[in-house]
Symmetry: C5
């Protein structure tokens, strides 16, 4: 088996007539550093469950094809060679292997005779104030195996693993499709969390806008908008993918109502996303209006103050003139009178603007 150096890494398999074992550094196409590969195998039937962490291909291959259901949970895409080796044992088409390794797939489902491929994306926020990120999670569903390939762990599948270990319920009795459904369901739940969080952020924002429209809010709004764009990018194809999966031959009749339920959830998600976007637009509109109002108020303040002081300053200027014959200057109460007039003007003006609510 000779390794062959490829010039163009994007779709290299297409041209190969030798078995496909790409060099890992060329293949992994994700924008994060590939985390170390951890492979965990769950081999179980209703009665018993074996859970092991496996590091080499031969051991892994030993679990394939057995009668019990085997779940291989592959986390991290560093050890690409081993992964593609595994895929070959399962007779996966070279184009599909590539798709599994290029972690920028849109959610989609590919049905073949022997296996069904499901590509999903999981949203997560690396740190409280950072942008949302989306990881690829792919499922390979065969008759007796489920292989899940994830870019990173974050404990998403922990709850399902715990149910597998503790319970003797459905999840142990039913096939790979039901297990896939359970995992898909935790991913969908993650989307709900993200959207609810964004909705809450917008509602807080809205309150802040109505209370005090500061320019800083603009940056917050911008961040939420970015997050929504990222969420929509995964969510829309996700809905299609779940629908396709529901209709896929990989899904048995018993699992179908669960898949339909999952599909209902994605529809609700898409609807929530629309709602959230409308909320954000409404907040944006409020912000713009509030900014406009503030500008208006500032202008009115300036205008009313100018209207008060201009006549006063003018009057003072008049009696600062040096004409020889200015009778008022010689009056005994001239100065007093002048003050009286000026105060009067000011009071009238202030009252006028108060009434119009400019001050």
């Amino acid at each position: 088996m000779k390794k062959q150096k490829e010039e163009k890494p994007v779709l290299p398999v297409a041209d190969a007539d030798t078995p496909y074992t790409p060099s890992p550094d060329l293949i992994y196409v994700g924008d994060q550093e590939a985390s170390d590969t951890v492979v965990r195998v769950f081999d179980f039937s209703t009665g018993e469950l074996i859970e092991k962490q496996v590091d080499d291909l031969p051991t892994l291959a030993g679990y394939l094809g057995a009668e019990e259901l085997t779940w291989i949970d592959w986390v991290g895409l560093k050890n690409v060679g081993m992964l593609s080796g595994l895929c070959e044992r399962l007779d996966i088409h070279p184009l599909h292997i590539e798709d599994l390794l290029h972690v920028d797939q849109h959610p989609k489902v590919e049905d073949t005779e022997h296996y069904t491929l499901v590509f999903l994306r999981r949203l997560h926020r690396p740190a409280p104030n950072e942008e949302l990120q989306s990881d690829q999670v792919s499922f390979v569903i065969t008759n007796s195996e489920l292989i899940t390939i994830r870019e990173s762990d974050h404990g998403v599948f922990n709850s399902v693993q715990a149910r597998l270990r503790n319970s003797r319920g459905k999840i142990r009795n039913m096939g790979a499709d039901y297990l896939a459904y359970s995992l898909l369901d935790t991913i969908i739940d993650g989307y709900f969390g993200i959207l609810t969080n964004l909705e809450d952020q917008i509602e807080d924002l809205q309150d802040e806008i109505l209370a005090k429209p500061e320019p800083e809010l603009m940056i917050k709004m911008h961040n939420i908008r970015s997050d929504l764009l990222i969420a929509r990018r995964s969510l829309w194809p996700l809905r299609e993918a779940v629908l396709a999966l529901e209709r896929s031959p990989a899904i048995t009749r018993e699992t179908e109502p669960f898949m339909r339920d999952a599909y209902d959830h994605t529809v609700k998600l898409a609807d929530s996303l629309d709602f959230t976007r409308d909320l954000l637009n409404a907040a944006m509109e409020s912000y713009m209006t509030a900014m406009n109002n503030r500008m208006n108020e500032t202008m009115r303040l300036l205008t009313s103050i100018s209207l008060i002081f201009m006549p006063l300053t003018f009057l003072a200027g008049v009696y600062g003139m040096n004409f020889k014959h200015m009778p008022e200057l010689d009056w005994k109460y001239g100065y007093l009178l002048c003050w009286v007039v000026m105060v009067l003007i000011a009071v009238v003006m202030v009252c006028f603007f108060r009434r119009r609510k400019w001050l």
Copy 2:
């Protein structure tokens, strides 16, 4: 019957192989406090009507399966155990029981062989100035039973109950589907009320905007927009659900024209919602334009006043200068002349701005 503690409350049934009796605190997922459960049974045929309030499951179960039509009107979701018990007696699928208990379903219809499930949402405004809220109302329609499950009462079904008690008409003769239609119809009427109210609010707002565009109107507009978003969220799936119900096998031929009428109403509702949203957008646009006009007027006032006083103050400044040789200062009527010139400038300016409607 052993109760089983679930780690993940959202879809816990999926994994259970024991009968389902969830602990109530875990299950009820509504954003209001669950009101006390009140269960009222109407058992009736054309000739007679029995109406009772029931508190325990066995009594309730006694009404099931009889020949007369039984309407169980369940209000409040506190006593979840009894409700799920009832559902099990009716052989309702665990996933559906969950949907009945999670009161955040979108309007939808689920047909099975034995029963039809209808999920609806009812809009109501808890207090005059609060946001709209939407409650879940679900129907379980079987051959001889109708079970309605509501989050709260608010007297929505009172009129139908009164017709049931007083009349010997259609509502007593026809089946569960006609009764369901009558209840659905009162819910749809509620939407009309909400939308008409919003439309009226917008028209008042529009008048206020044209009369006096105050910043306070912005908050009103924002509230109406929120209400419209909430209404749309229930209304769009409602239309689909009513259409699905019309085509459902649960609806007999005699009830069909009534269902079609109800569907026509939801179409009209959706249309009214669009109309209301367009009205609001038009009001928003008027407001923005009016604010802009006001800003323009303020600027013109400032500009015209500045243009009047600047030359005057300048003139006064000139004759306040201390040059030795300033012939005007010694003229006998210099001061008078100065005033004449200044008044002239002012008058010309005022006329000029009056003509351009700046003042």
Copy 3:
């Protein structure tokens, strides 16, 4: 026949097992005062025409079922009892009778075995500066009768009535469907008139905006927008309704090309409405831009005038200072020089701003 008091007037029939004779005050649901009922009967064949005004049900009923074509033109919805009586004689379904009496139906067509119902809306403007109003016009088409029910008259059908009286042409030879088409056609013509009028108004407005963007135009624009919203509300379902009517069994083969022509007209109407809305949006945009331009000009005027007078006033202030040693004050031509400098500054400034077109 016992009259039955209904608690809930909106859909009261549903529950009645007695013949339906609702009390008129409860039923008529229009936002105008119901005008007095005037019923005119045209009973005609190719050879002869009888035209009569009829006031009681029995006389009216005498015209039904005859071989000649009978057109009952019912104007005004005050005498609801008589109308519903007539409907019952024609075996019209209670739900349909209600629809005829509730004058807020959307345009739609309902086919049954015995008759076809057509609901239309007619637009009219009560007074030159008032909002558009839409009246309901409904047709009941049977084999040998056409009943038209209108909220108000306004002479809409006069031209058709005149053709009926004078001509011996098609309108007398063909059936109820052709007569219905002729009436529908006059209603569609009315829409064209309304839209053309709105289009003209917008074009006038546009000219005014380009000439002189006054705030008053905003109110005009708002009124046109309201009218367009009202027109759209009737027009969109109208198109669907005419299409449905074209395909209805009530339309004979000879009338079909005329119906198709009518449908083409509604398509053109919908298109004109879109065009008109786009025109209005363009006008709105022009207005906003023009307002912005004006604001800009105002600001520039203020800025340039301030820039001219500020240095002048400053200079005058300087030579109004009372320092002991100010050599300029003692110069012989100091005052003159000061004026020269000030005029120079002013001229330079004015030239500068003229060149930049700020003044």
Copy 4:
């Protein structure tokens, strides 16, 4: 043959049982003055071509029904009687005759057993700075005749006529459908010219906006927007009409690929129209932003100049005060120092604003 006066000119035929010969003044419904009627006949086969201008109906009728292909090119709608006479000879349905005479049809195709009607609109600009106008061009295609009816000439069909006279190629060998295609093609080319011209105008405009955003550009933008609205109004139904024509039985198999090509062109046209509209929107946006920027600059100029002169004028005012004990006034270099301070303030201010790019 008795002429019959019609009260309602819009669809008068409907009621006529006599042959249709409307009075021309009532019928022609175009917004331009009807130009004089010029009728030109091309009667040709592969071998020979007869071209004649014809003024009376009988001569014209002599050409009909012959074996050679006859093209009647009718320009101007003044002589309506003759046109409707011709149409009757060709057995055209009265409703279709009306459509031919009412020159406000949307592009559409009407197939009957004996003939196919094509309604098109041609765009042209009467004078360089005027609005676009759209003329109706209709085709009547029969087995051996093509009748084209145009509101005005403008030499649109000259190139095809020249090819007919000179060439012995396809245009002489193939049927009426190919001739119709050739004419349709010149009309479509006209649209390309109009759109390209608009696109160029927008690009010039965009350059002007980035260079110097003057208010005059607003009027240009408004005119282009109007032209686009007019173009869209013809173009959208044109696409549908050409598609319908491609599928029409009037089109022979040999002409079909040419029609498909024409359809491809209309798709490209529609796409170009969208592109042009997007370009205009982008230009509009640039303009608004540029205006905003200018406003900002003006405000900054005003603000910075005010900030420079306000302290200076204040200082001058202080030393113009008449307090008895003002030590500075008696200093020998008081006045000089005052100037030094004032110049310093000014210089610091200017530097400050320069650095922030406000000046």
Copy 5:
């Protein structure tokens, strides 16, 4: 073979019954100068590969129809006569030859019995700061030939040519359709590059806007918007074309999964384009808001400074009046007190505006 001068170059073939050899200057319709024609032939089977540059038609024709797969890579459209000669040998329909020569085709696929035509557009940026340009790339796929016709080279197909030369893999074994797929794939990759670059530009822009919203950014935004419009114009029909190609009979079963993969890529491209446009809109919105904020700040600065200096200047004016009896002027500490008051006013004002964040 007589050359025929055409009056109307756009669709001249239609009328020709002589073989088609247009004069090159009339035909090439591209907006760049036609680059010199370079024709490169690859004639290959699994075993061997002949690569030659060919300058005359007879040599070129010698390669046609052979058993080995022949790829003729035609770059530059100057030598139009030779190209159309080649097309005639391949029996290509005259309308299609024209399409190949008019380099403004939208992406589309044309299937005939003997060959399949694919029109694509390639995006490239001639120089770093110039607008995107789109070149036409067309494929003629027959059983044993692939002819690619490109406006310009830019080395797009270099990688495929290199694979052809070096590898003995799939690309040498499979048919013309697989080769076409490989070339199509490099073109699609080019789009990804362009979009990623635009996305990066927008993200940079967004950062600049949040940091410092300068008017220069407006021009950058405008350029990106233009590029997006150009990209969309090619991309939308590209997706349709690739879908049509996937379903075309020219694509063998083995190549189909690769074509489907290519189609998935175009779907992803369209999605990325939407995402990029939304990003740009968000950036635009941020920019407008930022500009608005700046205006607000400027206004506040002006207003607060005016409010500080107006009372001070007024005070100074008051004590510059020349009234005889002004007691304050004679106070010993009058001047000092005056300063104290003025400083106090200033300090209070500054504190006030500081607190409101206006300064």
